[in-house]
């Protein structure tokens, strides 16, 4: 009983932390996803001047841990004359990670579009941008949706790393409650369950969408 009473007491603070986590996660996706699409097109472009920078951004964004990218944006960039708030740094750092990972997912989706479709657009005399816009991207994105949803779950989890840059998200709130009440186990367990309450339904939904989509593939 006492655990539940404690949890009821922690809940309001943790809930407002969860809200911060969700907002940062959404901001990272809103900024990162279009960037990911651009990087996907860039890294499969014919021109070398376009391809190499895109590949470099993708490899760096995927190779460096999200936690390190966060430290670079929050603690590192002020040395280069650019100071960001912790919210801004968290959104931008996670957006960069999102862009790098989603670009590979989207690229895989675009490559899954049969070559014959591209040839058909040429036969119809469509310009290359039109072919991308009306034929390749709509189909490629559809293939990429389940892995993109899976990545969304991961980036939501990654918002917990922003605790290290003093962002008052869910883990940050839980830790500060823990250090003032010394009930670390109780409050961290509740925070963990709150993360799980978002991620587990999201993963189940992802599985369902994946099964649903694969029904239409040969």
């Amino acid at each position: 009983m006492t655990v539940l009473q404690d949890w009821l007491g922690f809940l309001p603070q943790l809930a407002s932390g969860l809200w911060v986590s969700v907002v940062v996660c959404l901001a990272a996706i809103v900024v990162g996803l279009p960037l990911g699409l651009a990087l996907a097109l860039g890294s499969s472009a014919g021109s070398r001047a376009l391809r190499w920078p895109a590949i470099a951004v993708v490899e760096i964004g995927r190779g460096a841990p999200a936690l390190v990218v966060l430290q670079v944006f929050y603690f590192g960039l002020p040395s280069a004359g650019l100071t960001l708030s912790s919210t801004m740094a968290a959104c931008l750092a996670l957006a960069l990670t999102t862009a790098a990972y989603t670009s590979e997912i989207i690229r895989g989706g675009l490559q899954a579009v049969p070559r014959g479709e591209l040839e058909a657009t040429e036969a119809l005399g469509m310009s290359r941008p039109d072919a991308l816009r009306f034929v390749v991207i709509p189909q490629g994105i559809r293939v990429a949706i389940p892995p993109l949803m899976g990545f969304g779950v991961l980036i939501f989890q990654a918002t917990s790393l922003a605790y290290t840059i003093a962002l008052p998200e869910l883990l940050g709130r839980a830790y500060s409650i823990g250090s003032s009440t010394f009930q670390y186990l109780s409050v961290l367990a509740l925070a963990g369950l709150m993360y799980a309450a978002v991620t587990i339904p999201a993963s189940l939904l992802t599985d369902r969408v994946e099964r649903r989509m694969s029904r239409h593939l040969a």
Binding site: P65, Y184, S203
Partner: protein, 212 residues
């Protein structure tokens, strides 16, 4: 350039956390994967719940739960063992799912052949199916290990002396806070490239020994 030496001294700890965490998962994932295919609904439910909880809660929360949650009361837990336990637990869940994929990839005829030879269920698993599952699992497991190496950077938050820990202390000692973190990022990228290359070559060699 002065930063490279101190930051590189964190590499062994990063690798240690990765290898031990992965090893715990490689063993602990086996019973979880088998339970996932149990005939009993309740057993399947239990393993599924364990896997979903381990994967659904962020790694940093697991580390804090082990280090501050459990280590705060009766038992004293040092940062490194706490990180190993946390990464080991998470790895169990991810590798169980990878094994599950491998199990369903092994051709049904392999089980039937085991039955035809009069092997017990345990022998079929241990001698025929298991080795092939391991080979199927290599690419996914390697990808996971590379992800785990990057995740070990989280152990810096509880004071384990790995790459990011040294980068952080360098950044706080000097006026230039940017370079140490960039060196740390480079260290992770440099470490993961050979890992990916090694995994691909192992996969190529073992792929030959799978019945199709």
């Amino acid at each position: 350039m002065d930063y490279v030496g101190p930051i590189a001294s964190g590499i062994p700890m990063s690798l240690l956390l990765t290898v031990l965490g992965f090893a715990i998962g490689a063993v602990g994932g086996i019973p979880l994967a088998l339970m996932r295919r149990s005939r009993l609904r309740s057993v399947r439910f239990i393993s599924r719940s364990i896997i979903e909880l381990l994967r659904g809660i962020p790694p940093i929360v697991w580390i804090f739960l082990v280090y501050f949650g459990i280590g705060n009361g009766l038992i004293k837990v040092e940062p490194v063992p706490a990180a190993i336990v946390a990464f080991g637990l998470i790895s169990c869940a991810y590798l169980a799912e990878i094994y599950r994929g491998g199990l369903s990839a092994v051709h049904r005829g392999q089980w039937e052949a085991g039955v035809a030879l009069g092997l017990s269920h345990g022998d079929q698993l241990a001698r025929i199916i298991g080795p092939q599952v391991m080979r199927y699992s290599i690419p996914a497991a390697a990808t996971y290990a590379i992800g785990l190496l990057k995740d070990t950077s989280i152990a810096f938050t509880i004071g384990a002396q790995e790459i990011l820990f040294f980068a952080d202390s360098q950044a706080k000692q000097s006026s230039d806070a940017l370079t140490p973190y960039l060196v740390a990022a480079a260290a992770y990228i440099i470490l993961t490239v050979p890992c990916a290359w090694f995994a691909r070559s192992v996969d190529r060699r073992l792929r030959v020994r799978i019945a199709s």
